[in-house]
Amino acid sequence: MNLLADKKIKRSQEPMASAATPDLDPGSQTAEAADRYMSRGSGPVARARTQVAAGLKPAAGLPDLKPMFEVQDLNLYYSKFQALKHINLTIPAHQVTAFIGPSGCGKSTLLRCFNRMNDLLEEVRIDGRILMDGRDLRGPQTDVVELRTKVGMVFQQPNPFPMSIFDNVAYGLRCQGIKDRVYLRQVVETSLKKAALYDEVKDELDKNATKLSGGQQQRLCIARAIALQPQVILMDEPTSALDPIATLKIEELMNDLKKEYTIVIVTHSMQQAARISDKTAFFLLGEVVEFDDTVTMFNNPSDKRTEDYISGRFG
């Protein structure tokens, strides 16, 4: 029934429309969101949604949404090289935020800070803070493993595990010690449905996931992340290894997913950023040059460098 509700919203709100007029129609949007979140439980985000629905205005600068991540003066060094310089930005919840910019400008590096994948790289040094629900991600109270169940990630190359489709989707839950077969089956099914893959694979859940097509594999990876019911899904150029049709499917999917999840996506394609995102951050040489509503950014960039990049003069 949840899915049905989502479908309705999808029809009533085209992606660009919702991005262009967030202030005009906050009521219906947030009420829907609150509904969904009440049924889902009470996270801090859910509380924020309810507050908004009740007419309380959250912090200024974010018209209708609570921040998911607040990056505060973040610097990141790979050994001597400074990859990120004084990053300050706020990722709003339940929006699609796109990171664009030329190669090697720090987009993926920042993305990996949100689920602390940079911990796996040697010689990485980070200072500054990233707050999630008001807590520092890198602080002692944050458990990395728990963080990664809340902040899922989809990689550039589809990376399904060499096991069955079912086992791939159930993997995260099983790692959390969940063994209940009936429950696992339910979650696998709903996750695959949400990732728009269920109809294609429902009769062959035992099939090796590596035998799926590239686009299907990537949607499987999304399903795998969704199965953990995360708050955020990070996507690192999720469509760059896919053909145009598979890309289109993933883009449509993101539009559905943002109702339930906050999405941060790194993309090389400005068209993709324009098509799917609500907010866009433009990166250059480790700095965020501009961060704004996607519509504003693409129609009326305030920085000359952004304008040059968007109009294709470099990059």
Binding site: G152, N159, F161, P162, Y171, G172, C175, T210, C221, R224
Partner: protein
């Protein structure tokens, strides 16, 4: 026209030459391939012809009954009784037990070396394993008859068993376990190294711990190569003759399920005293060789079957 411009005739000539050289190289590759395949075929034919001869009518030293040979549980030169049944069982059990001991340790060692050990330790361990693989089998044999048998003798005494100075099936098993360890381990190392970082990251990003990632994703993705190592290791265990002969003891009948008893494997049967004998006793060793090849082929087939069963979704 610029005289540095390559002339068309020359270019065409070069193309012709390249075509011919392609053909020659292809023929060379084919020849070397055929040669190596031919070796195997020749060996099999030779062993088969020599081995089957003793069962054929008109064999000069007295025709043997093939069925008695396969199922016989005694091997005595003095009474000319040649039964290979218990020897096959011994060969199989010693190799299997050795693999059972070696395989888990080797796999975990490989995992440790590739995924967990810090750089320096990794280099040190890899060198150790390469060295282990390079030790000649006769050296292993000397070590086994000097050290392992002593240990086994003490163990036997501890359990109130008698053993022929430690010459026993258990000694063979321990020796083989050590000998096949580097084979299995180095194959496992290669297989685990080949697992892409992306799978590991994918697992960690789903909130799996490093240990869960190693066991559930890395090992499962490396399964194929690890099993290939097991097959090679078993092959070595089945085929090792020199070192095994030094601690096996050439039991004349069996099988004995007491690990402290002496044993006899197909290879020891073939090897010991080969040059001091002739006639039937000499020829029947080829029959034992034929059986050994059959055992190895069957085991390989079995392992592939098991792999497919538990692998289920292995990437071929």
């Amino acid at each position: 026209m610029n005289d540095r411009q390559p002339n068309a005739l020359m270019l065409q000539h070069n193309r012709q030459r390249r075509k011919i050289s392609d053909k020659i190289w292809r023929a060379l590759f084919l020849i070397s391939c055929v040669l190596s395949a031919l070796m195997i075929v020749l060996i099999i034919i030779f062993i088969a012809v020599k081995g089957i001869r003793v069962f054929l009518p008109g064999y000069e030293y007295g025709q043997q009954n093939f069925w008695d040979f396969l199922t016989g549980m005694t091997w005595r030169q003095d009474s000319k009784t040649y039964g290979v049944g218990f020897i096959v069982i011994n060969t199989f059990t010693t190799a299997a037990f050795a693999a059972l001991l070696s395989f888990p340790v080797a796999t975990l060692t490989a995992l440790f070396i590739v995924k967990i050990a810090p750089e320096r330790l990794r280099v040190a361990f890899t060198t150790v394993i390469e060295l282990l693989a390079a030790i000649p089998s006769v050296v292993y044999g000397v070590f086994a008859s000097g050290a392992i048998t002593k240990l086994v003798q003490q163990l036997a005494a501890f359990f109130g068993q008698t053993s022929a100075a430690g010459i026993s099936a258990l000694s063979v098993i321990l020796l083989l376990a050590i000998m096949i360890f580097p084979t299995i381990c180095s194959m496992a190392i290669v297989a685990i190294q080949a697992v892409g970082k992306s799978l590991e990251w994918g697992s960690l990003a789903l909130g799996a711990s490093q240990t869960q990632t190693n066991f559930k994703v890395v090992l499962s993705a490396a399964k194929s190569g690890i099993f290939a190592g097991l097959v090679l290791g078993l092959g070595r265990a089945f085929g090792e003759a020199t070192a095994v002969t030094m601690v096996a003891g050439n039991a004349m009948s069996g099988p004995s399920w007491n690990l402290f008893d002496t044993t006899r494997t197909l290879t020891t049967t073939m090897l010991s005293g080969m040059h001091e004998t002739s006639g039937l006793d000499y020829d029947i060793r080829f029959s034992a060789g034929l059986v050994l090849m059959a055992v190895i082929l069957l085991t390989n087939a079995l392992i592939h079957l098991i792999k497919r069963k538990i692998g289920g979704v292995d990437h071929e």
